[in-house]
Symmetry: C2
């Protein structure tokens, strides 16, 4: 049972810590398994607990940054948690919820970005968070959940994408059949590089402002038929977080020992440039973090370990690399057989 | 003599092309000179002329992108020109000049970013542009010049920085003794990574809204005692552009054959990450270009060829790498002997 506001904060914070723990343990399992097959050395997470490391006087926070470098499967990975309170809601939230202007906030969340070595293993990201607005009198004026998980392959592999999407869909369906179609479409819209006219990858799910009454941004809300309890919303967050690991890590397990050469590595580094462009130019979480005086090193742990930019480098038509652009076109991965272009 | 509006557009466009030509030739000289000393192979610029390649229906443009890759001195470099007209001034300009809201624009400029191989040779950038606002009746409602040049060293070298700043100062002083101090301070403010609390490098000059009456943004204008002619403003642009090459290229000439190893290379790649962060998070030219539907590959030619991000990697105290942070502190390079920390 979740009682008053304080215990919902506590439950969400505990869930965030629990997701961090579980995801890190599963990542380490993949490290060991791939190391065994490649004669590599599994890496461990380095744990960095921090408090009030940011640049802002109006935001107070603490967190735990767990980073893994130069492992057997992962070249770099981060599984971070934070709990932040601020005296003023950020403009990005106020633009969605103008009635909350001037309120403070509480937020807790877990963020994961994993960059495998093997170019045949996709990069993946997830973030799950609980957010509260707090009126000047201390009362909780609003509370909602947000989150998402998305996959960024370098080489098209339809089986990988289907596994990723099906696992997330199943987790969504256990809570509401509306979730997956709505959150999948939102993900396709969100992870889009306008200046490249490209999606970041093959999507997944993305949602925000999920509360007792429904979900979605102002003007595009979907309302539930009956209000959902906080327990149900927390349980969805737990399920979605667990589904991320289940959706993604088997792909790294599968491809972690695939043979590859300089050509694949060079293409991986070039495509990682798009990942950087998305995170620094568009990602709201990154902008919110950097602009609100968050802890830079934790926020930018998402950036890939090694990245390449080359002027107007286009893959050969007909090559495996050349097929990626068409593959990234948003579609219904779970029913359509995707066309080659 | 510069007569009506059309011929000022033409003169500025011709100057932009001329600067591109001259800078490319001087870069090639450095390529040959460094190649001779390192048994390397000098690279040539690849020329890419483009027209209306952007994503916008309200902006029309053409340009010439000259890119050099994997040379003897330079790992990557671009010397780009463009001439762009649009039906609506971008918000960044309207916020400075609200009286021009709804006007169209004409802009022509040259942009240079050079990334040497050698970590002891700094990276440098310059941009010089002419801008016109055009009222709905076709009349030129305002015209101004903007520009800048800045240096980003990886290893502190006070002689390099003094040469760079002194050369720019001399060019400024030939036109107005107010220019260098004002433009130097503006450069320090502009090339600042707030989330890192670091400058991008050791600065140089930066200016905008330079017109017959003075320079500076609204609320911070510096007025001339007597109005300047368009010829004088164009001549300053020509001088500043020439000074950039003279200020920077000798540094690459000097360090292009310095001995370095993996340690210096790793530090260079890490610091290049800051360059990417600045360009994608803060740089107004990049944002204007990407958001107005400019040609992405030309805009992002500024990004370094290879970049590394590592979680919270700090150089050892007392090492040459560890000295950079203190070295980047803005100061009067031409009179002070900088303190060690």
């Amino acid at each position: 049972m979740i009682g008053p506001q304080a215990s919902l904060r506590q439950s969400a914070t505990r869930l965030v810590e629990d997701l961090q723990e579980r995801i890190c343990a599963l990542v380490c399992d993949v490290e060991h398994s791939v190391a065994g097959r490649t004669n590599g050395r599994p890496a461990e997470f380095a744990v960095d607990a921090w408090e009030n490391d940011g640049a802002s006087e109006t935001v107070a926070g603490a967190g735990s940054t767990r980073v893994l470098s130069a492992g057997a499967a992962f070249e770099k990975g981060g599984v971070n948690t934070s709990v932040v309170t601020g005296t003023r809601l950020p403009p990005s939230v106020v633009s969605q919820r103008p009635e909350l202007a001037g309120d403070g906030f509480f937020a807790t969340g877990v963020s994961v970005v994993l960059h495998p070595w093997n170019p045949y293993a996709p990069t993946a990201h997830c973030n799950f968070r609980y957010f509260e607005a707090q009126a000047p009198d201390g009362r909780c004026s609003a509370r909602w959940f947000g989150g998402g998980a998305d996959l960024t392959p370098f080489y098209p592999d339809i089986a990988d994408v289907r596994h990723f999407h099906a696992t997330l869909r199943d987790a969504c369906d256990r809570h509401d059949p509306q979730f997956y179609p709505a959150f999948k479409a939102w993900c396709d819209r969100y992870f889009y590089l306008k200046h490249r006219r490209e999606t970041r990858g093959v999507g997944g799910i993305f949602y925000d402002y999920l509360d007792a009454d429904g979900f979605g941004e102002s003007g595009q809300r979907t309302n539930f038929e009956a209000p959902r309890s906080p327990e149900e919303l927390l349980s969805f967050m737990a399920d979605a977080g667990g589904a991320f690991a289940e959706a993604y890590l088997p792909l790294v397990e599968r491809h972690g020992a695939d043979a590859f050469g300089e050509r694949e590595r060079a293409f991986q580094l070039l495509r990682r440039g798009r990942y950087v462009e998305f995170n620094l130019v568009y990602d709201r979480g990154t902008h919110f973090g950097l602009q609100s005086g968050g802890r830079t090193e934790s926020i930018l742990m998402s950036l890939p370990p090694l990245v390449r930019w080359a002027y107007d480098e286009q893959p050969e038509a007909g090559s495996a690399e050349g097929e990626l652009a068409a593959f990234l076109r948003p579609r219904d991965w779970l029913s359509e057989v995707p066309a080659a272009s």
